[in-house]
C-alpha cells in the first residue's frame, strides 16, 4: 500500500510572492505558526497518508530546506523511506523558464526510477489537512486520468488571487480552467494538487516540454482537458493559500485559533526539534489569544499574535496582531501592531511600528531598528 504513491511537493507557482520573506528562502521553508516551516503541513499529509517516497522540489536558496528536511523525522522508516530534495538548473538565465515542468524534466530519471503506480503532486503554499488515500480511492472510483483537488470558496474576490478556477461539466468532470482575477465571490479553486498515474505524469512532462518552455503542470493539464478525463475532488475543511505577505500574515493569525482542532493525535504535523527549553513568562507578562513557540522570554504584553521560537519581549513592550519569527528581540516599551517581523531582527530604537490588517508592516531579517 505504501508504495502505491510517489509524493511530490511541488514548487510554488509564479503567482506566489511573499514580499520580503521570499528574498531569503522559498516560501515553503518559511517559519510558520511559531514552530513549523510551511512545507511541514504538506509533507506530514503525505507521510500520514503512508507515502514514504517523497520528492521536494525547490527553485533556489536550498539551504534552509535541506537543513530542515535533514533534521526532521516525518515518521517514515528511515531505511525504507526516502526524501529527495531536487532542483533544476535555471534555463536561459530567465526566471520565466524556471517552471515546475523544467524541474521535473531535469530530474525525470528519479521520477522514472520510482516503482509507485501513482503520483500525488501538490505545492505546499496551500495549507490544509488531507488524507491522500481518500483522494486516490476517489480517483480510482471515478476512473479518472487526472484528479484535481479543489475547494468551493466564497472569498475568491479577496483571496486566491491568480489561482486556477475549475469549471465543471457533468459528473465533476473539469471542462475548463481559468485564472482567478478576483471578479467573482463564489468559485471552485484548484488547490493545484493532482493525482494521476506515474506514467501519465511522465507523458505530460514530455508533452509540456514539446509544447512550450513556459508551460507549468497546470497549463498542460488545462491543455489536455479534451483528451483526458480530468475530475475535481472536493476538499472539505480548512484551506489557506499563502501567496503574498498579507496572506502569510493572515494564515498565521487565522490558524492561531484553529490549530488545536486541525492537528489531532491521529494526524500530527511533524517538524524539526531544536531542543529549545520551555518559554518563561516573567512577572509583568500579559499574554492572551496567542500562539507561542518554545524558548521565549516574555516580560511584556502579547495580544492575538504568533510568536516564534526564542523570541524575547522586554518589559513595557506591546505586541498586538503580529507575527514574530524566531529569535527576534522586541526591546523595552516598543509597540508593534499588525506587523511581520523576520528572523533575528531587533526592534530597539523605533518605539512604534504599526501596519494595518490589510497591509502589515514587514521588518527584514536581521534588521536592527
Amino acid at each position: 500500500m505504501s508504495n502505491k504513491m510517489l509524493g511530490i511537493v511541488n514548487l510554488e507557482p509564479a503567482n506566489v510572492h511573499v514580499e520580503g520573506i521570499d528574498d531569503y528562502r522559498p516560501v515553503s521553508a518559511t517559519s510558520f505558526l511559531g514552530r513549523y516551516r510551511i512545507l511541514d503541513f504538506m509533507i506530514s499529509n503525505m507521510t500520514n497518508s503512508h507515502i514514504d517516497d517523497i520528492q521536494i522540489y525547490i527553485k533556489n536558496r536550498p539551504r534552509s530546506t535541506i537543513e530542515h528536511i535533514l533534521g526532521t523525522n516525518y515518521n517514515v522508516n528511515s531505511k525504507k523511506g526516502r526524501f529527495s530534495i531536487l532542483y533544476g538548473e535555471i534555463q536561459g538565465n530567465n526566471e520565466l523558464y524556471n517552471t515546475d515542468i523544467a524541474n521535473f524534466k531535469a530530474n525525470i530519471e528519479y521520477i522514472e526510477q520510482s516503482t509507485a503506480d501513482y503520483v500525488v503532486i501538490a505545492p505546499s503554499h496551500f495549507v490544509y489537512i488531507e488524507d491522500f488515500n481518500e483522494m486516490l480511492a476517489y480517483h480510482e472510483k471515478m476512473g479518472a486520468d487526472v484528479t484535481i483537488m479543489y475547494q468551493s470558496v466564497s472569498t475568491a474576490k479577496e483571496d486566491f488571487a491568480m489561482c486556477d478556477i475549475l469549471e465543471f461539466s457533468e459528473g465533476k468532470r473539469v471542462a475548463a480552467m481559468s485564472k482567478n482575477t478576483g471578479k467573482f465571490k463564489n468559485r471552485d479553486i484548484s488547490l493545484e494538487c493532482y493525482i494521476m498515474s506515474r506514467n501519465l505524469f511522465i507523458e505530460l512532462i514530455q508533452k509540456a516540454t514539446a509544447t512550450s518552455s513556459l508551460f507549468w503542470l497546470s497549463d498542460v493539464v488545462s491543455d489536455s482537458l479534451g483528451d483526458l478525463k480530468v475530475v475535481g475532488y472536493p476538499h472539505k475543511g480548512y484551506v489557506t493559500c499563502i501567496n503574498s505577505l498579507k496572506t502569510y500574515y493572515k494564515a498565521n493569525l487565522e490558524l492561531r485559533d484553529r490549530l488545536d482542532d486541525l492537528v489531532t493525535e491521529g494526524w500530527p504535523i511533524y517538524t524539526k526539534t531544536n531542543d529549545t527549553q520551555p518559554t518563561l513568562y516573567r512577572e509583568c507578562a500579559r499574554v492572551s489569544g496567542s500562539l507561542i513557540g518554545n524558548g521565549c522570554e516574555i516580560e511584556g504584553t502579547v495580544i492575538d499574535s504568533v510568536i516564534g521560537r526564542n523570541v524575547v519581549i522586554k518589559a513595557g513592550a506591546v505586541v498586538k496582531n503580529a507575527v514574530i519569527m524566531p529569535s527576534v528581540l522586541i526591546n523595552k516599551n516598543a509597540k508593534i501592531e499588525n506587523a511581520v517581523i523576520d528572523k533575528y531582527a531587533m526592534i530597539t530604537h523605533i518605539k512604534e511600528l504599526k501596519g494595518t490588517e490589510d497591509e502589515p508592516i514587514y521588518v527584514k531579517r536581521r534588521d536592527r531598528i
Binding site: 492561531r256 492537528v263 527549553q277 518563561l280 513568562y281 492572551s288 489569544g289 500562539l291 507561542i292 502579547v302
Partner: protein, 386 residues
Amino acid sequence: MKQKKMVAMILAGGRGTRLYDLTKKVAKPAVHFGGKYRIIDFPLSNCANSNITTVGVLVQYESVLLNSYIAKDHIWGLDIDGGGVYCLPPREKDVTGLGLYQGTADAITQNLDFLDQEDAEYVLILSGDHIDKMNYEKMLSEHIAKGADATIAVLEVPMKEASRFGIMNTDEDDRIIEFEEKPAEPKSNLASMGIYIFTYKTLRRYLKEDEKAKDSNHDFGKDIIPNYLKDGLKLQAYRFKGYWKDVGTIDSLWEANMDLISDKNTLDLSDPTWKIYTGDNNAIPQIIGPNAKIDVAYITQGCVVDGEVKRSVLFTGSRVDEGAKVIDSVIMNGARVGEGAVLERCVVMDDVKVPAHMHLGSKNSKNILLVTKALVNKKAEGKDHE
C-alpha cells in the same frame, strides 16, 4: 593513537519509593521534569555535551518505558560509530545465573564484561535522578592531572545541612582522607554528589574482591570508597559549582521545577552551548487563550491555557481551562485542569483530569500534594455524597 576512553554508567534502577504514585508505573529516571524533559535527559545530555560516546544505563525497576526511551540514542546525538546508549538490566549469566542488582557496586560488577568489551580506561558513575549540568570532561582531566585512582564530585553544602549527606574530609590539596556517611558532627561541608570517576583497572580489582566479600553491601559509598581509603589509594575531591538537585521526593521534585521560574535560578536551560536534549513529541506550539492570565510561569509546547497560571510549570500537552486557577503548582504531561478548578501547591500527575470546580491543595500546606487519578476520583465521589 587510540584515545583513552571513559565509559559512563548511569545508575537508573532505583524504584524511587518516596515519589509514591509518580513511580508506580515508571522508573524514577523516566519521570518528567521541567516542562518538556525527563530526569534522565540531564545525565545523558551532559554525557553527550562532555564528548562521552558510550553510556550504559543500569535499569531494574519498571523499566519498559525507560528502556524504550533510552534506546533512542539519537535523541542525545549518541548514535555514533563505536558508541551508543546501552540498556543494561540484570542478565542471566553462565556462571552466576540470574540475580538482581544487589547494590550500586554490584550493578557495575555484573557488567564488568561490558566495560571490558568497551575497552574502558576510565569509568564514570552517574545517578539517574539528579538534575545538574556538569562537564564530565573537565572532571576527567582533573582526575588525570592529579593522578587519582578515583575522583568524587563534591558540592559545598551549608554546614548545618551537612549531616544529611555523605561528607568528604579532605587535605589542603582536596585529597580525600576520610569519608563519613551522614555524620552527626560533620568536619567538613563537602557533600558527595554520587558522581565518581574511577580508573578502570583498579576499580575492576576492587569490584572483584567486593563480589566475594560476604559482609559487603556491594555499595560504592559503604564498601568500595572505604576500601580504597583503607588501602591508601588516591581519592580526589572534585568541587562542582552550579545547580545540583537530587529529586528523590515529591517536595524536592516540585522545588526543582519551581527553581526554573525563580529570579535566582542558576539552572540555565537556554544556554545553546550546553543544551539538554529530549525526545520530541510533535506537539503544537503553546496556545494561550483569550481569557488566560499568566503571572510567572514556565510553559512548553502542546499546552493550552485559557485560565489563570501563577508561579507554575506546565508540562507538554497539559491544559488549564477557562476560569481555572493554577498556583504554585506543577502540571505534568497531558494533565488537564477543568473549568473553575483551583489548584495550589500541587503536583498533578501525567494525564490526570481535574474535574471542573474541584479545589485541591492549599496555600499553607506543609507538603506538596501529589494529585493522582485515584485522589481525584475519591474527591469527586465524596462530593456526590455531600
